[in-house]
Every structure is written in C-alpha cells, then in structure tokens.
Subunit: 323 residues, 2 copies
DNA sequence: TTGTAGGCGTTATCAC
DNA sequence: GTGATAACGCCTACAA
C-alpha cells in the first residue's frame, strides 16, 4: 500500500479510503490512486484488513459430507443466495467425522468468520462443538439440530413433510394391496429422528426399518423387505438417497415400481428426477432456506440465539408413487 | 494473548511458543500457559498469525458448480486427502459464472491462500483469471485446462479413456446392430474438447451430438437420436450426467437398455451405480488425483509452473453396456 | 530457556 | 479532504 501511495504521491490513508470506499476522496486523487494500483498490480490484502476491522465478510459453511447430494446442493444454493451480498461463502467438509468437524469449527473461528453455518454430524455428540462456536460468533444450525443447545436453527418442517406424505398415500394408495412401511435412518441426526416421529404420528403403527442416510442402506432395506415376505408395499423413506437405493435394488430383482412397490423419498435432490421411474418426494425448499439464513444474519443479535425457523416442504409427485 | 501471558505469569513470546509449538518451552511453564489459555477460553487468532507469517496453511478450491456430482465428489476427496496434512481445504463455488469465478479467485488471493486449485469454468474465457492467480500464488488447474496459459494441471487422460471405451465396444458390441454414436458437450471446457477428439481419434467418423454438461442435455439428446431414426445404438457420452439423462429418457419412451440402446458414461460419479440399469462408465481416479495434488504442493516451486499430470482412468462395466 | 520489541497490511482517529 | 499515526494479534530476531 505504501508503494501505491508513493507512486500516486498521496498518503496510505488516502489509498485506503479509495480502495475501501470508506470515505469520499477528491476525484483527481482517486484516479491517481487507482492508476498507481493498477500499474503496480496491487491487490488489497484481506488478512490485514480482517485483522484491523475484526470482521471478514465471510460466512463459513460446515457440511458433514459433500458427496451427499442434498448437502452439496444446499452449499450451492447458499453460495448463490449470498452472491452480491458482499459476503463470501466458504465451504468445509467434515467427512462425517466428529474430530474433523471440530477442526473445521476451530479453523473457521480462528479465521474470524462473521457467521458460521453448521450442519452438525451428530445429534448429541456435536453439541459441544456447536456450543463452542455459538460462544464466539453468530452461529446457525442448518437442516439438523443438536440436542440441549440453544443455537439458531433453520430447517425443514419434517412433521409437516410426513403429513404431506400421509395425505398423498391415503388419497392414492390401496393400503390393503400396498401396505405402508417405513425405511428410515437411525436417530443420530435430528432429521432422522423427526422424520421417524412424524411418520409415526401421522401413520400410526407400521413396520419400520432403520439404517443410515445412504444409498447402500436403501439397497439393503430392499432385501430385508423381500426377506420379510413383502411382495408389494408403499415404502416411505427418510431420504431420497435411501429411496433411490431401494428403488434400484427392487427393480434389479424384478419387482415393478410403482405397480408392486411404491417408493416415496424425502429432500428433493436433483437426482430424484433422474431416477427411472422418477421419485415421488418431499422437496425441501433450498432457495427459501438460503434466503432465511441471509435474513437471519441481517437481523439476529448475539443476544437471542434461540431463533428456530421451520420451513414448509412441498410434495413432488413422481412416477414411483403416482397420483 | 497478553491476557494469557499475564495469567500464566510469562511473556507473550512464551505463550506463542507453547501454542504454536515453534520452540521448546520448559514443561512447567507449558502447563501454566495451557491452563491459562483454557481458563480464559483463549483461541489463537489465525488472522494475526497469517498476517505475521505470510502463509495461511490453506488451500482454496474453486469449483464451477457444487450441484455437479463430479465436482462435489472431487471436493470431498480433496478434503479427505488433506485431512491430517495441516492444510485446510476451503471450497468456493463459481456458480458457472465467469464474474463469480473471478471474484472467488480475488477473494482467495486476498486471503493469502498458499495454494489455489481451480476447475476453470471456461476453456478460453477463464484464462485471464487463472493467469492472474498463478502470478501471486501456487496455482493448479484441476480436471479442466484453460488454453494458452502455462499453469500446473492435474486431470484425467481423456484420450486414454476413450481408448478404453473403444476397446470395450469393439470387443462386446455388434456395431451393425448397435452403431456407435457420440453425445458430448460443446468445447467450452477442455474436457469436452479432449473427449470429443479422443472419441474421433479412436472411433473415426460417427454421428456426433454436442450440447452441455448436464442432465437436461442428455434427455434432449435422446429425443434427437430418436428423431433421427435411431431405434438402436451404442451411445458414447462425454459425462455420466449426460448418459443418465439419456438413459432415463430412452426408457421413459419405452426403449430398452442395453437391448436396444447401449449407454456409456464418463467420470464414474457415485450415482452412476445408482441408475437402473447401472451405467457402464470411464471412472476417473479421484483419490489419485487428490494425492497427486498433495504431492505437487510439496515439490513444486513457483519457477516451474508447467507440470502437467494426466492420470489414467479405468473402465467400469455396468448393466447399460455389459461385457 | 525466556523476555523485549518491531513489524506484517490495513483502517480509524485525530489533527490540519 | 488529506496526512500522520496508533493499533488490530501474532511471530521471530535479538538480547539476556
């Protein structure tokens, strides 16, 4: 900066004012500074700025796994939402590992991000890390909530999602012929938890299979259903990725979807439209989630950390469980 | 840091040495410092450290689009590779927009990342930005190369990939009954470019359809093929995501895969195994790509920026074009 | 082994 | 409107 100032024949203060636009500068000096900066290939050092200002205009997004299409699409939409806001979105993947999740949080905090958005790996084990983050910066939980900690949360109304599924099923399915079964994920994350409870509260008692949030579990679950004697059913799943695994395995084994088995997903990831047949699913409104977070940042104070926003999902009818 | 020093009754220099491990400190003082830091909830400020050291122990990864499963899996694998290396991987999405790509580069440079890994949006238009980056920090192009700029590159050997496809086709396909057709992407990116050339050099003259690297283009291409009178073919595509769109549309319209149409993809994304039938594809070895970049960082000097690493892909046989 | 002190690049405050 | 200067938090000569 000193070089630019020297070349333009002004003080570093003026250079700073021109480049950061913090105060008005006479037009002729402005041009001089800009010219000198260009000639010297000068680029502002954001580290110096951050140290001085104590802020970084950065949002850190910590996701459990970028290979999970729902999380990566959330990351993509959040980035898009913040484009033009003057805030950069930086993404860090925890690789589904509590240790790395912790490291990611410390890294973001150390870098002085203004906002930390976390999709926690684990409903209870991530609590300490989330609480730690909330102590030093504006922290928002996304999609999943840890238990026993009072930190902002933005996510889908899973209970409502299951109500939509129930409405669809009771309107379109002959439950005598295709009885309802739930294939979910164990309750390590709040979304797994809440979707199971939502299912139970709307559907009552039905067979329930619990595994993990991934494709392989969907495949396994298909085998379990068949082993348990099912030759037709309406399978409500806790996530598209599970539903897709299930769908593929059922078809490989010669069963027809939706004629024999209906499959219903949750999340509305892009690949749900990509399956054959396309997946009927409960779509989370990722755009609105992004907007809500942007809003929260502009209004939230560190005093109130208990904002809890539930966004209503919508049912998307596909071929795997038609109307 | 001064507070910690005061509480431990030592100088800030000692605190620094303990917390950064840069120099040995007597065990008793060490404990004292650590205790004081814990009591005060002190966390090292990485911004201050970065300003002083001029390095940040950070790798910035700039991807065109996190919604593209190949890019997000690359991001995931790179993160995993760097776990334990002492380097944090931070991801920024350019949303397929040259303007945002440029902003991402300036942001990473301003933050003084030690390494910048870029998957450029565009083969020619991204050149200026990539060159800019390479001027101020170690820059590595990933998967796609811009033209006319001499910057490190790590990516797949697309020519070899097409050779593998040709080997499979000539061994397993009756080309009289299922003639070869290419469905690719226009040459805005080097991978689109190179795969098309690879196809031509191994297969010779065949009908060629060019669009974009997405699912929708695959669907459109299916319609084009049918409109052009094809009722059976071996469709070689430039990317899994195109192949999957094509596969789905063909099936929706009542055509059988692989009996009528064979479909072959490229990339080896996770969802290729998720399709029904599963996709035969050329898998890029993402783990090895990650390791290569880690290696490059440890060996490369800013003097030689022309390293060019091509990693051999492997053919994965799926049901869409069986052996 | 430990302490002192200067400076990394920037901006805000205070004078002019 | 502009210039001089202190301070943000840290690390590392250098001195002890």
């Amino acid at each position: 900066m000193a070089d630019v100032a020297a070349r333009a024949g002004v003080s570093t203060a003026t250079v700073s004012r021109v480049l950061s636009g913090s105060r008005p500068v006479a037009e002729d000096l402005r041009r001089l500074v800009l010219g000198a900066a260009r000639d010297l290939g000068y680029k502002v050092n954001l580290v110096g700025r951050a140290l001085r200002k104590g802020r970084t205009s950065t949002l850190g997004l910590l996701v459990p796994d970028l290979d999970n299409p729902f999380f990566s699409s959330l990351a993509q939409h959040l980035s898009r939402t913040f484009d033009g806001s003057g805030i950069d979105v930086l993404v860090f993947s925890a690789d589904d590992d509590l240790r790395i999740e912790r490291r990611g949080i410390e890294s973001f905090l150390g870098r002085q991000v203004d906002t930390l958005v976390i999709i926690p790996c684990h409903e209870s084990e991530s609590s300490v890390s989330v609480a730690l983050a909330a102590e030093s910066t504006l922290t928002i939980q996304l999609d999943r909530r840890v238990s026993d900690v009072d930190v902002h949360f933005v996510g889908c109304d899973n209970h409502e999602g299951m109500r939509l599924v129930e409405g669809h099923v009771s309107a379109c399915v002959d439950q005598k012929r295709q009885p309802v079964v739930y294939v979910g994920a164990s309750t390590e994350s709040s979304s797994g938890h809440e979707r199971l409870e939502g299912f139970r509260s709307h559907f009552g008692e039905h067979p329930t299979y619990l595994g993990t949030f991934d494709f392989g579990w969907g495949q396994d679950a298909a085998q379990r259903l068949l082993a348990d004697g099912f030759r037709s059913a309406t399978v409500v799943t806790a996530a598209d990725i599970i539903g897709l695994g299930l769908l593929g395995r059922l078809q490989s084994l010669g069963h027809r979807v939706p004629e024999d088995f209906r499959v219903i997903g949750f999340d509305g990831i892009g690949v749900a439209r990509l399956a054959h047949p396309t997946l009927t699913t409960v779509r989370q409104p990722v755009e609105e989630i992004g907007r809500t977070i942007l809003n929260l940042i502009n209004t939230a104070t560190s005093a109130d950390r208990h904002t809890l926003v539930r966004i209503a999902p919508e049912l998307v009818i596909g071929e795997s469980s038609p109307a």
